[in-house]
Amino acid sequence: MKRYGLWKYLLILSVLCFGVIYSLPNLYAPDPAVQISYTSSSQTADTFLADKVKELIEKQNLEAKIELEKDYVLVRTNSYQNQLIIKDILSTAMINDVVIALNLAPTTPKWLMDIGANPMKLGLDLRGGVHFLMQVDTETAIKNRQDGTLQDLRRRFREEKIRYSQAGVESDASIYLKFNNPDVLQKAEEFISDNYSQFNFPLISDAMSLRLVLSDLEIEQIESDAIDQNLTTLRNRVNELGVSEPIVQRQGKKRIVVQLPGIQDTAEAKNILGKTATLEFHLEAQMDTPRSRKTSYPYRNGMGAPAFLQDAIILGGDQVATAQASFDENGLPQVNITLDGEGGSKMHRATRGNIGKRLGVLFVEQKTRTVYERDVEGKQIPVQESYEVKEIISLATIRAALGTTFRITGLDSPSESSELALLLRAGALAAPMTFVEERTVGPSLGADNIQAGIFSMILGLLLVLVFILFYYRVFGIAASLALTFNIVLLVAVMSILSATLTLPGIAGIVLTVGMAVDANVLIFSRIREELNKGREPLEAIDAGYNRAFLTIWDANVTTLIVAVILLSYGTGPVKGFAITLSIGIITSMFTAIMGTRAFVNLIYGSRKNLERISI
């Protein structure tokens, strides 16, 4: 009989240890926790915040552990009820400067965390929360861009004295220009070629008209800018909601997924995701500006004394087409802003007479906060209230009349310029979005799902174990150990990949349990067959493993093909199922073939003159 080398035992042993250690964190139930961080990103959580939280909680005589983490203060509680009570206490006492989020804090021991062992992530169907899928209307973004360009063209044609008789944006987002005279048309065509690069050249023209079609490259650029910008805006919004571990991700070409664990009030979440912040451009107020026509605003970053700006708005942030951080000739950071056509002409008119004065950029944001009002019975009830915040993000000297594109200089660092560009872009949604899918799972359903999933998994496993123990005796022990080991290994791999476990994922594990036995059944029935042919037991074991191997290999590879295709094509439940199925197929090959072989060899391998085996 083929001997099993020491290295194989060592390999199996080390994989077993690895599996046990890395699946271990999943046994520690997470604490319901509340996490508190400062609203402004420049301020990190400190002992002052922690002490304040501690004081508030101690006043109520609630049991809780307070920890100071890197970015936030964590309050661990022992029940979901206390978690909600503490959240309410804290939000009543300190509303405006902190974000308070409900969280499930892992209780993984430190030595496990030090070696990178963390529990699996739970999907929304198991922990409760909201899943939104939003479609970005990129066509509107393209149309808006063309509208802006047309405005700009009109103005510049006027300056160049190019007379057109008709101009508009068609429904296919191309710009249509009609002229009275072929010479003018030619002049216009040359002017556009020289000054605009975003169109397909040569321009489509007939005797009297021009059609300006955006190049594919430009369209792609506008679309991806629009989605990036919406993603940024959404991330900012989600941070405002105070959710721990949110997911904001692009899905496919035009969609954005937002997942907010622990949130149940979809109406509130939608309201906040949909809201937009904006920019306003104002001239700085002069000494002689009357009080009634100027207002003082603070700086957004808290640096510098508040400054007075004129109340008249030059233009709003909805007219910023794009903003990009870059460097000027001297290598200093700047932000390049592109306005749409209308914005450009407004800006030009406002700045040409004010060279040498300063232009202020105001960040205007709609925020919502929870305030507590007393109802008729004197009970405190939370009420959502929205308010506007206006802060200066830039105040810079106008050096020349500004047009569609201009830059904001005088920034301290490249990180400041990219932050400003980001804020300018995040100021508004680049394109409207529609909610195309929404799934909310309440916390009670999530808890039920976990319980049902785990219970059915344990029962399924037990049934299978009892059956194979009864049917295969000693070999059944080998198969049972392999099966249990397989689940441990599967959980360990899922934890390391930080894959998300969902309810269909649990179903995938259960199915893996049923199917993983197949490999052992194949091997064992082969061994029985060989025994029936009159072979010696040890030879029969050898032959059984050898002959069954190829069958198992082919059968598993084909199933793996299905699983991988599910993984790449599927979304949501299909994907969750495919992840556990694929990992399960791979781990089961290892445990069912190598694992059982090692066990069988340990029991029978060293016995000479073995008469019969228990199979």
């Binding site: 195309v436 799972v441 309440g442 199915l511 069958t551």
Partner: protein
């Protein structure tokens, strides 16, 4: 377990049986269609949990008065749980509106929101198309793999068996009008994987016996192979069914139809690996010569553990 059953004596009857079932399935699929779930139709779904038994007719009435005329209201799992469906709706706020309407109409009871789902119309048709594409791609890749590992006739036979299984399971879902949603689609793809597993095991034995057995009768060789693998086929199906029944009864309402699709799939898949795949091999005229030019058996031995 050793068996000596003349499976192929029944092959004509099996063929007629399968044909009837296939026609029935396709007919039902065409004329009755599937009871598509929200994932595919688009619309709104709300699941609520009442502290005591929920009064379905009262809820229905409240909804009609509140302007939700087309709402389907039913118990879900237990008498306390209520499932409200508005298929085909295109507004993403109906779910929250229903929740607040019902909460305000039954102030004495605290209603627990279990879930709200909204699927937009474009998503529904997309999911259906993607599912179909995934299934076709899976079939194509598996055919390639089997043709590469075995021989093209085996690939053909396996795919015929798989298509048979998928159509019959869809047919059963259509006939008894069980809701067909995204998880059922995943189950259907898992059925492909499972059924293929079975077919490969049988094909593998047929291939081996074609090379090693003295007999020249393909009929006899296949019969022997089926008998040799029958024990394994039954045990694996049994263990898989054990866990599936545990999922069906204890896995919760959301997983029920998934488990059901797989239960049907395992039964049909076991049957098809015997009667459809093996039968197809005989009808395609497989004989010893088809495998004679293959590489020598021990070329594969290097892969052994």
């Amino acid at each position: 377990m050793t068996f000596n059953i003349d499976f192929l004596a029944w092959r004509r009857i099996a063929l007629i049986f399968s044909s009837v079932f296939l026609i029935l399935s396709i007919g039902s699929w065409l004329f009755k269609d599937l009871n598509y779930g929200l994932d595919f139709t688009g619309g709104t779904l709300v699941e609520l949990s009442y502290p005591d038994s929920a009064n379905i007719s009262e809820i229905r009435q409240t909804l009609v008065l509140g302007g939700f005329e087309g709402a389907q209201v039913a118990n879900f799992g237990s008498s306390k749980e209520v499932l409200i469906k508005l298929p085909g709706t295109v507004s993403d706020s109906l779910g929250s509106e229903i929740v607040s309407l019902l909460s305000s109409s039954s102030l004495d009871q605290e209603i627990d929101l279990r879930r709200i789902e909204y699927v937009g119309p474009q998503i529904g048709s997309e999911l259906r198309d993607d599912g179909g594409t995934a299934m076709l791609i899976a079939l194509a890749f598996m055919m390639l793999y089997i043709a590469f590992r075995f021989q093209s006739m085996f690939a053909g036979a396996a795919v015929i068996a798989l298509i048979h299984d998928v159509i019959v399971v869809i047919g059963i879902f259509s006939l008894i009008q069980i809701e067909f949603d995204l998880t059922v689609l995943a189950a259907l793809l898992a059925v492909i994987g499972y059924s293929l597993n079975d077919t490969i095991v049988v094909s593998d034995r047929i291939r081996e016996n074609l090379r090693s057995m003295e007999s020249d009768s393909t009929h006899e060789i296949i019969n022997t192979s089926l008998n040799q693998t029958l024990g394994r086929t039954l045990i694996t199906s049994l263990t898989t069914l054990l866990v599936l029944f545990s999922l069906y009864f204890l896995g919760g309402e959301l997983i029920k139809n998934f488990a059901l699709a797989l239960i049907f799939g395992v039964i049909v898949g076991t049957y098809s690996s015997i009667y459809i795949a093996a039968n197809a091999l005989i009808m395609m005229g497989l004989n010893k010569d088809h495998l004679r030019v293959e590489e020598p058996e021990n070329a594969d031995e290097n892969l052994l553990p």
